[in-house]
């Protein structure tokens, strides 16, 4: 094939594609289409391959291609900005000194697998730790501590805590699965956010008092209605305010703000916003994108002490999504953290329903 046709084929292929030239045992990138340049960098043409890629699988595959003069495939992975991309690579022998390499992106498939694996292993670990403690204490109560009422009392208290931790985790798992089940069912009842916030505040009053945290409110005197599920929305705001109380630390203030109606660019709708702001140590930027991941913890030890299950924000995010809304987190180290729940107003959702039916 004439060189110009090969180049046209490489540029026109709808997969990331490289054209390689082997000279004196060294592979150089002769051409690359836009998709390949998206992955490997804009200025890769005429560079030696080793400066762009250093996966041994790829090098071995190319050796096999030129040795056997046949097409070859391999799997390889590559880290981009801390996340891993997975590809299938196919090398086509084009002659004694040329080969074309094409890549198929398998990242979504691999990530889904990884998430399932992590989830199962996390759940079993989280359940097993309190269970192991319970069994240990039961053994002690039946054995050496049988005649010792003081020890019994102490152990029963710890057992109670551990059992409660398991209970919290199981309830969180259940509500997460319930929210997931209803994910595609839009809420149909009209509820008012100001009422929901007021009753969430009542639920949290005892926790706030124990931690000596002052919750101040803004905008709760206005009536703001959306289509929503009362219980789920209460759970959202209780979760968020509970987090703010816990992570903001004692003797601090938490600010709860209700904004009645704002046009939201990202949702292209008029929305209500509920903001929960604490004045604690804040969250490092690296954690922000992963906060709503199940069992993701910013810091193992701190969370254990405060009794979180690692599922709270995952639940919040799911509920917000079910209400066609979004959760936004803003935080900087030392500046506290602000969680915003953006929810489309009732009229807006109705309007959409009418127009779409």
């Amino acid at each position: 094939m004439a060189q110009i046709s090969i180049d046209r084929l490489v540029l026109g292929t709808p997969l990331p594609t490289l054209l390689l030239q082997r000279h004196d045992g060294l592979d150089t990138i002769r051409n690359a289409n836009a998709l390949a340049r998206d992955i490997f960098g804009t200025e890769i043409v005429d560079k030696p391959l080793f400066k762009v890629l250093r996966d041994a699988q790829i090098f071995d595959m190319l050796d096999r291609v030129f040795d056997t003069q046949t097409n070859q495939t391999c799997r390889f992975q590559r880290d981009v900005a801390r996340s891993t991309m997975y590809y299938d690579a196919t090398a086509i022998w084009m002659g004694p000194d040329q080969a074309v390499v094409q890549f198929t992106d398998l990242t979504d498939l691999e990530t889904a697998n990884q998430m399932r694996r992590d989830f199962v292993s996390n759940v079993s670990h989280e359940l097993k730790t309190p269970l192991a403690a319970l069994m240990g204490f039961i053994e002690t109560l039946l054995g050496p501590a049988r005649p010792d009422p003081v020890a019994q009392e102490r152990f029963l208290k710890i057992m109670n805590q551990e059992a409660q931790r398991m209970n919290r985790l199981v309830s969180d798992l259940l509500s997460l699965s319930r929210v997931e089940e209803t994910q595609r069912m839009r809420p149909t009842k009209t509820v008012c956010l100001n009422d929901i916030l007021t009753s969430s505040l009542e639920v949290l009053q005892p926790t706030a008092q124990t931690n000596n945290v002052q919750i101040t409110t803004q905008g709760l005197d206005q009536r703001v209605c959306i289509l929503g599920d009362w219980d789920q929305l209460v759970q959202v705001f209780v979760n968020l305010m509970e987090n703010a109380i816990k992570y903001g630390g004692p003797d601090n203030t938490v600010v709860l703000t209700l904004v009645g109606s704002v046009y939201e660019q990202t949702l292209r709708k008029t929305c209500a916003i509920v903001r929960v702001k604490d004045h604690g140590p804040g969250i490092d930027a690296v954690h922000l994108p992963r906060l709503a991941e199940r069992f993701y913890r910013v810091d193992d030890h701190r969370d254990r002490k405060t009794g979180g299950t690692g599922l709270g924000l995952a639940i919040v995010k799911h509920i917000a999504t079910r209400h066609r809304g979004r959760m936004v987190v803003q935080s900087q180290r030392g500046q506290g953290a602000e969680f915003s729940i953006i929810l489309p107003l009732a009229a807006e959702i109705n309007g959409e329903l009418v127009s779409s039916s």
Binding site: L26, P48, F50, K51, D55, Q57, D79, R82, K128
Partner: protein, 241 residues
């Protein structure tokens, strides 16, 4: 290469040893990743593969050393070229050591599976392994692109590795104090964590080679040591105390 030599075959030779070192680097990156995955998923076949692949890594190191010696003998490189050849020597021997540590992790994974009481807390080691793997990736990227800032970033990140190792050290100590039956598996786990921590030190040396290669000098300031387990008796106490 910006500065072309009159003998273009010389450039080609320099490129070739660098291609070799990058291939070796790729193999070592895979070795760390596979050793961690084998441990996480209890994949003994993968662990066996890591051990077998270490031979390839050792072979490439020898090839690189031969090529470098030949290059010095035939071309008598000077200045930047000499520094490049010297850095290749040093990087390859550090990569070889990292490969050995990965092999050792794989070996211990196989031993751990044979133990009845092996501890199932797998996340900490996995995270440490991932951090080291990313550090090596950046060190090699810095090497191939002569990226001074990235190299210095890698050197600074060794502190994080040390701190993660410290945390694991305390965790394993706690398990061992809880129940003497945990001692054997936790000793193996501790050695795996220590292997990873040592890998971090070798990666740092590679990053220092980048600094040397680009500037012709070594960064003066003494690196902070984050591993306190050997110098601070407080570290050996646990919350269980």
């Amino acid at each position: 290469m910006v500065n072309n030599h009159i003998a273009s075959a010389f450039d080609r030779d320099l490129d070739k040893i660098q291609a070799q070192i990058m291939k070796m680097g790729g193999l070592v990156e895979t070795a760390i990743r596979d050793a961690a995955t084998a441990y996480e998923l209890r994949d003994l076949d993968l662990a066996a593969k890591v051990r077998a692949n270490d031979k390839t890594i050792d072979q490439i190191e020898e090839t690189i050393n031969d090529e470098c010696s030949k290059l010095i003998a035939l071309r008598a490189p000077t200045a930047i070229d000499l520094r490049l050849v010297l850095s290749v020597f040093k990087v390859s021997s550090n990569l070889e050591r990292i490969g050995d540590y990965a092999k050792n992790m794989a070996k211990r994974t196989i031993v751990l599976e044979g133990l009845a009481n092996s501890h199932d807390r797998r996340l900490g080691l996995k995270r440490l392994a991932r951090e080291v793997e990313l550090m090596l990736k950046d060190a090699l990227d810095a090497y191939v692109n002569r990226d001074l800032d990235l190299a210095r970033d890698v050197i600074a990140r060794d502190m994080d590795i040390d701190q993660m190792y410290n945390a694991l050290f305390r965790e394993f100590l706690t398990y061992m104090m809880e129940d003497p039956r945990n001692i054997t598996p936790c000793m193996h786990l501790h050695f795996m964590a220590k292997n990873l921590e040592r890998m971090g030190d070798h990666v740092t040396t590679i990053a220092e080679q980048v600094v040397f290669l680009v500037t012709g000098q070594r960064d003066e300031d003494e690196r902070d040591k984050g591993d306190m387990t050997s110098s601070d008796p407080e570290m050996s106490k646990t919350s269980k105390g």
